[in-house]
Symmetry: C2
Subunit: 517 residues, 2 copies
């Protein structure tokens, strides 16, 4: 199977049905296929050769969806850039993957000079917007206008379809290379386990399309057929208005988005009864939030999917699980396509109830980290991808995430690796030592908190350190709070005892965490 397969199928079944709805702009499958074929022709005319990387930097739009089709159609590899990243991080992702073409929307066009400066290997920049392109950039619509349509390359199976950069434990992002088969194994296996989208339904893309959650949702609706309703970015009222206006059947969110919807003062003025599946990812919901959400979306089946960029999705908490309501803190049970184990440091499965690392195997496991066989070999051992998530599995196979071995914080659905933030903080001349931890946060799930020991005689404020960090990494990765202390708690080996640090802020939730080695 291949990523554009769903478009061809919809084109044959229902060419005049809407493929994308973006504001007032509706495009049919016939238009979408025509545009994808010509856009692919345009990309080829820019010299895109087989397997060459094409980056997208933009808010969600119908053009984003077109690009997700046109790039594989041209036999390119899509590199969807994280819009929240600092330009220096984007440059890293462009350089590391040796991306030759960048398609950017008007929101991010101002970053182009900095990106070109950082990665002169960019052969062409295309502005995907209605207005005129900046100096030196091509116009998306004009490129498509003059291009000859090309036949779909129809590469699939083990051909790499996407390289997606995620934060790294060692301070550098890593490019996750995913094949068509990787993505579609995850899509079909998840659909067979719990329907995230409905065949012939209408999905609303509230999550960003550059993120695995958004990309997976797009691929799912595309392969089973149906319409993509797109909002540029998450705004609770825009989302509710779009659901109401377009009779959306499925939405996929992170719990912080769901919270913003149910908290919104205009909640009851919109008709949300068309939604029959509401999927969420990245973190569990609380019982209180679920109860309110079930009231707000009275006809929705609630499902949680758990996964990561390297894997797509691997487990699900189904509608039935939600109706029973007894395991809401769980990440669900392994999906039909994935084998999941909780293992010790040697990869040996641990008894149920014992905390270890989550490892997964299956056709969904990434092809590898782009150009980094060592990192790939460290992550994928005997076919098992080691997730870095610490969890236990109960007797019925439900997975409960209790911590992250890789010291990762999930804030508003985004992964933040402490090491990256600590590296950035450590560059400040006033910082002697620091440790970054996640603290519970009602709005974001977790928030990034830094504990810093200043150098003797240094005069620095928490605000200055936050500003400093924001110059180096994405704003969402920078600490939201900084505490200055005289000393950090250290182990005998001189390692910062993060558990002890966290314990100062958080009362232990249960005895389970004591089981972590």
């Amino acid at each position: 199977m291949y990523l554009t397969q769903g478009l061809h199928r919809s084109l044959r079944h229902s060419p005049d049905e809407p493929a994308t709805i973006f504001g007032d702009r509706v495009r049919s499958f016939a238009e979408q296929a025509d545009r994808a074929a010509r856009l692919a022709g345009g990309l080829r005319s820019l010299g895109v050769s087989d397997g060459e990387r094409v980056a997208i930097l933009g808010l969600n739009s119908d053009r984003y969806v077109e690009l997700l089709l046109a790039i594989p159609w041209a036999n390119g590899i899509v590199n969807p850039l994280n819009i929240r990243w600092h330009p220096s991080e984007m440059v890293y992702a462009l350089r590391d993957s040796d991306t030759s073409i960048l398609v950017v929307d008007d929101t991010f066009a101002p970053l182009v000079p900095e990106l070109l400066d950082g990665h002169p290997g960019l052969r062409a920049v295309v502005l995907a917007a209605d207005g005129p392109p900046p100096e030196g950039a091509l116009h998306y619509e004009a490129l498509m206008e003059v291009a000859q349509p090309v036949p779909d390359a129809r590469r699939g199976g083990d051909a790499v379809a996407a390289v997606m950069y995620t934060g790294g434990t060692t301070g550098h992002p890593k490019g996750v290379a995913l094949t068509h088969a990787n993505l579609l194994t995850s899509v079909l296996g998840t659909q067979a386990t719990c329907s995230v989208v409905r065949p012939c339904g209408r999905v609303l893309h509230a999550a960003p399309l550059f993120h695995m959650l958004g990309l997976h949702t797009w691929a799912s609706q595309s392969i089973v057929g149906g319409t993509h309703v797109i909002v540029p970015k998450f705004d609770p009222e825009d989302v509710m208005a779009a659901i109401d206006r377009h009779r959306v059947t499925s939405i996929v969110v992170v719990p912080t988005m769901l919270q913003a919807i149910v908290d919104h003062p205009q909640l009851t003025t919109y008709d949300l009864t068309s939604v029959t599946t509401l999927a969420y990812g990245a973190s569990p919901v609380t019982e209180a939030l679920l109860e309110r959400a079930m009231h707000a979306f009275p006809h929705a089946d609630f499902v949680q999917v758990y996964g990561m960029t390297e894997l797509g999705s691997i487990s699900a908490l189904t509608g039935e699980d939600h109706r029973r309501g007894d395991r809401l803190r769980s990440a669900g049970r392994p999906a039909a396509h994935a084998e999941v184990r909780v293992v010790d440091g040697d990869g040996v499965e641990l008894p149920r109830g014992t905390v270890g690392e989550v490892a997964a195997r299956g056709g969904n496991v990434m092809a590898g980290y782009w150009g980094d066989p060592d990192a790939t070999a460290a992550a994928v051992r005997d076919g098992w991808l080691h997730t870095g998530d610490a969890a236990y599995m109960d007797d019925d196979g439900y997975i409960f995430i209790v911590d992250r071995i890789k010291d990762m914080i999930i804030t508003g659905g985004e992964n933040v690796y402490s090491a990256e933030v600590e590296n950035a903080l450590g560059c400040h001349p006033a910082v002697a030592a620091c440790a970054v931890i996640g603290l519970p946060d009602d709005a974001w799930g977790e928030r990034v908190h830094a504990v810093v020991t200043p150098r003797p005689d240094a005069d620095v404020t928490p605000d200055e350190l936050i500003r400093h960090t924001r110059c180096l990494v994405a704003a969402y990765k920078a600490p939201r709070s900084v505490e200055l202390v005289d000393a950090l708690p250290l182990s005998g080996a001189g390692k910062v005892l993060k558990r002890e640090l966290r314990a100062r802020y958080i009362a232990p939730a249960s005895g389970r965490e004591a089981a972590i080695g």
Copy 2:
């Protein structure tokens, strides 16, 4: 993915839940996995090596399901014999595939001497029954009892999982080699298109497990998780009783079975409200049958799946299609995993509404015909499998089967190739010429009808010709009616004009058929 994957998943999630229910015998997933591991050990002890063929000949049973797991577990290839075939046809399937082990139930044990005689290459015969085995055969339970469990081979992907023999156009059956990926692509793609089974549901196996419809149903429920309720063979009252007693959620049937259920005098005495999906295959339903069936199964979503042994399933008429009720004569639209075209003799797609041959492409297309690269190359061209079904596709992508290019009759869900029956008839000394066609039949969909020109001065009756044919081919392939005529209508090239023959019996249904080239 691999065929035993669902068992491992269920074993981890719900080891004590019922895996199989067969009469009063209930076996949990823990028991099933234990038995499969030991049975696989037993097969290995009989010398089953990697990729070796193991045949099953029996009615549906819980042991049949165990074998479908134990054979791949032992890294063997399953050869499920058509129980309706004549022993000489079974011998052909055993010899052609060089099958070394035969597992037989007590119903078919009396055939063993004839099968051994025809295929001395059978190293061992195992009786899967409660009683003692016949002379020279091993006892299934004893084999399992003494065997050491072996670890699951976990072969999957492109490894061949099954070789399934189907009738051939040239008089000989052909062995369809299917990989794990072939079968599971079809299973997941069909589930994503229209749920045939429900995760954690209970499926009733009314269709025989040796047939693709039954095997596909088994693989579907196994991979999404759930219980297999098994009846030895189709009997309308047994099926209704099993649904009522075990609260079955899904059943998969052929329309003749559905007809027998709704016609049954005891229909209203059983509670069939637990059924939420009713899938059927092999031929369309009439509006009258559907209406009665919807009344009999008030909570069921009706879906039709269309496919063949070489492909698994390729298209579906969904629940929504049935509720609209306007395309019941259609075989539905291509499923998410399959590309389907109606093509001319050169493989070029025809305009919508024009009749041609159905061709399909995708990960579900068989690996090939066992040991027959020529037949494989004739059937699979540029990745497209040519089905031999004549059909047109309407503007919305619905497929309407109008005839069979390969001159095939579908009777009670079984495919009968006219050529095979004509070969058998032609062996009778009194037959000068003959033609076999399918005639519409209320009970069987189609029935096999032969038109025979006797040799001059020969004295033969229709009954004698039917008896003669039954000695050579399966009873269901033998004509149910024979007409003796003076001459057959011939084309200028001397070919029997079957269209003209059929026209003598059937009033044309619509102008569509006139479009066949």
